[in-house]
């Protein structure tokens, strides 16, 4: 597969000197569902706006299909955007909103009708043609926004937190539907979200961003199982992150105890972040355990219980199918390959 979009050394600096993006390098493959994931202010929307053409980078190059497109205005780029709050035109009805792009390009009326109808069918809005967009529900507006962008047959569809305004159930439905549309039309989707679950469910690959830097690029499984640093680990799922130091290869020290692990290649006694997922903490009887703690709270979460355990000045989060009474003392154990060792994060994270 070849790259449809490449960003080379992109820097965005605002007039007041604030750097929003600091040296972004990124290749996006054709027909992929790519998600930019990160907390608000991390630069994900800014990156999207650079691809759409609403923003020119302070320095760096943007390539589309191998062509440099810096300075090409948005209306001449073969990408379309689904905006955060949809940005539907309030003076036009559903049909005219979807037909907008085609009318601008002076497509013949007959073809407009055909293509708009196709889109209405695809997003399940047949019969809503004449409806004013102000009288649609959030989910329906969302569908119109998607249809309005896709009707132009863009090579790349950009989606800026498109599901942010919907309730949970609708979000889940739309996630599946978006994925279906992307696979049906074989398009490249670039999707911006701060919701890690959404990113994991939908994407072929995820770009985790923070503070204007790309932290990690990889498939959902890679990102989840092999986070490269504590930030990614914490952002992708709730994690217990403790300070530790490497005694030698495959042996780490934290909370005053030594544990077997599987990581190598650190300097002796190097300070590291130790990351352990809540579901990887095993609850064992107190007397067999290296590490013990007192249960502070138990919350039933449906599939499992979430417990907060106080152990050596640190609150541990544990997911377990069995509940332990509040106030009891429990032991904790970990498999060596569940202990993730990460280099101490540098300034950039």
């Amino acid at each position: 597969m070849e790259n449809i979009i490449s960003l080379k050394d992109i820097v965005v600096e605002f007039e007041d000197g604030e750097k929003i993006l600091k040296n972004i390098n990124l290749d996006i493959k054709d027909k992929e569902f790519v998600t930019f994931l990160g907390p608000s202010g991390c630069g994900k929307t800014t990156t999207l706006r650079i691809i759409a053409g609403f923003l020119e980078p302070t320095s760096g190059d943007v390539f589309f299909d191998g062509q440099r497109i810096n300075g090409v205005p948005p209306h001449k780029r073969n990408v379309n955007t689904v905006f955060q709050r949809y940005a539907l035109f309030p003076h036009l009805n559903v049909y005219e909103n979807i037909a907008f792009g085609l009318r601008v390009k002076k497509v013949p009326e007959k073809e407009i009708r055909k293509r708009v109808c196709e889109m209405l069918e695809m997003v399940n809005l047949m019969g809503f043609e004449k409806r004013s967009v102000n009288r649609l529900s959030g989910g329906q507006q969302q569908r119109v926004a998607i249809a309005r962008a896709l009707v132009n047959h863009p090579k790349v569809l950009l989606l800026d937190e498109p599901l942010g305004a919907l309730d949970l159930k609708l979000r889940k439905e739309m996630q599946i539907e978006l994925r279906r549309i992307q696979q049906e039309l074989e398009l490249t989707f670039i999707y911006v979200t701060h919701d890690q679950e959404e990113a994991l469910t939908m994407s072929d690959s995820i770009v985790v961003m923070n503070n204007g830097y790309i932290q990690q690029i990889g498939s959902p499984t890679d990102i989840y199982n092999e986070p490269v640093n504590a930030f990614v680990a914490d952002f992708i799922g709730e994690s217990n992150i403790v300070n530790g130091s490497m005694i030698q290869d495959c042996l780490v020290e934290f909370a005053g105890k030594h544990f077997q692990c599987v990581d190598r290649g650190f300097a002796p006694n190097e300070h590291v972040d130790v990351v352990i997922r809540p579901e990887d903490v095993k609850v064992i009887p107190e007397k067999n355990a290296e590490l013990t703690g007192m249960v502070e709270s138990v919350v039933f979460k449906g599939v499992h219980y979430e417990m907060c355990v106080d152990c050596v000045d640190k609150k541990w989060l544990i997911h377990s199918t069995k509940a332990c009474p509040v106030g009891s003392v429990i032991g904790m154990a970990f498999d060596p390959d569940d202990i993730h060792i990460m280099k101490k994060t540098e300034d950039n994270t």
Binding site: A52, G53, F54, P73, P74, H75, V79, N80, T81, F83, Q84, R85, A87, L88, F89, P90, H91, F100, G101, R103, V104, K105, R148, A149, N152
Partner: protein, 268 residues
């Protein structure tokens, strides 16, 4: 205690001082001095057709000029940084707070035969030009006085247009010109219609601007009405008839304007 009775004092006031006086205009327009029904005054209005035509024409020109000047201003204001917008709007609207007569008087002194403009022309070696007491001066006075009435409604509509709509238009293939025609103008239509009425209505019915800047040769409907009530031509019946015709003209023009604005209902 029923809350709706709170409005009783106002309802009495409204009937006596709003409704009855308007009915009296109609009554005077259709009766003679002795109180008999007559169509004489209404048909007499026809004699002043030239004044009606001039009033409609000059105020339409003034309204059009206001729209052309105000539209870009309102757009520029609405796209400024939020904290600058308030101050800038205040600066634009400030002259409107000066008394109307003083603003018109200012132009009287500027345009006068011995006024500053002619003085400057003289210094540059040109012949003095007749500026005051022309229909151009009347239009200028209307534009100057009513421009803020056009800017304000346009601004308040444009300020509400979400920036993302411009981006969406651009994303869907619009150049800036086609964004203007396909998005900005349709969305600012309510502002255009209310701006046009807010300029046109006072412009067509003014008698001060025409008197101060137009001299005796540019009589407008307003002058005509004023003359029937407070001038030498004292004839309240004819004055009422002219007022009635004026109201009908305005009603017709506003109805036409409202055709352009799907959201707005005809108020009267």
């Amino acid at each position: 205690m029923k809350l709706k009775y709170f409005s009783s004092p106002y309802l009495v006031w409204m009937i006596v001082f709003i409704l009855v006086p308007l009915l009296m205009i109609a009554y005077f327009a259709f009766t003679s001095d002795s109180g008999e029904f007559t169509m004489k005054y209404i048909s007499d209005v026809g004699q002043y057709a030239n004044i009606f035509v001039r009033s409609i024409w000059l105020s339409l020109i003034a309204t059009a000029i206001c729209l052309v000047i105000a539209y870009p201003i309102a757009f520029i204001l609405s796209r400024m940084d939020k904290h600058k917008q308030g101050t800038m709007l205040m600066i634009v609207m400030l002259p409107m707070w000066m008394n109307f007569l003083l603003r018109t008087y200012a132009w009287m002194t500027l345009l006068g035969n011995n006024g500053i403009i002619n003085h400057l022309l003289g210094l540059m070696g040109f012949e003095p030009v007749k500026l005051i007491n022309t229909s151009g001066a009347v239009v200028l006075g209307m534009v100057y006085n009513y421009l803020p009435f056009m800017i304000l409604p346009l601004y308040s509509v444009m300020e509400k247009i979400d920036k993302s709509l411009f981006e969406a238009a651009s994303d869907l293939g619009c150049s800036s010109v086609s964004t203007l025609f396909r998005v900005v103008i349709p969305l600012s239509m309510p502002g255009i219609t209310s701006g046009v009425t807010m300029v046109f209505v006072p412009a067509i019915s003014t008698f001060i601007i025409s008197r101060m800047l137009g001299g005796g040769s540019n009589l407008l409907i307003g002058d005509l009405i004023e003359m029937q009530f407070l001038g030498n031509a004292y004839n309240p019946h004819l004055g009422a008839a002219i007022s009635l015709v004026l109201m009908v003209i305005i009603l017709v023009i506003m109805t036409v304007m409202n055709q352009f604005d799907p959201d707005e209902q005809v108020l009267m």
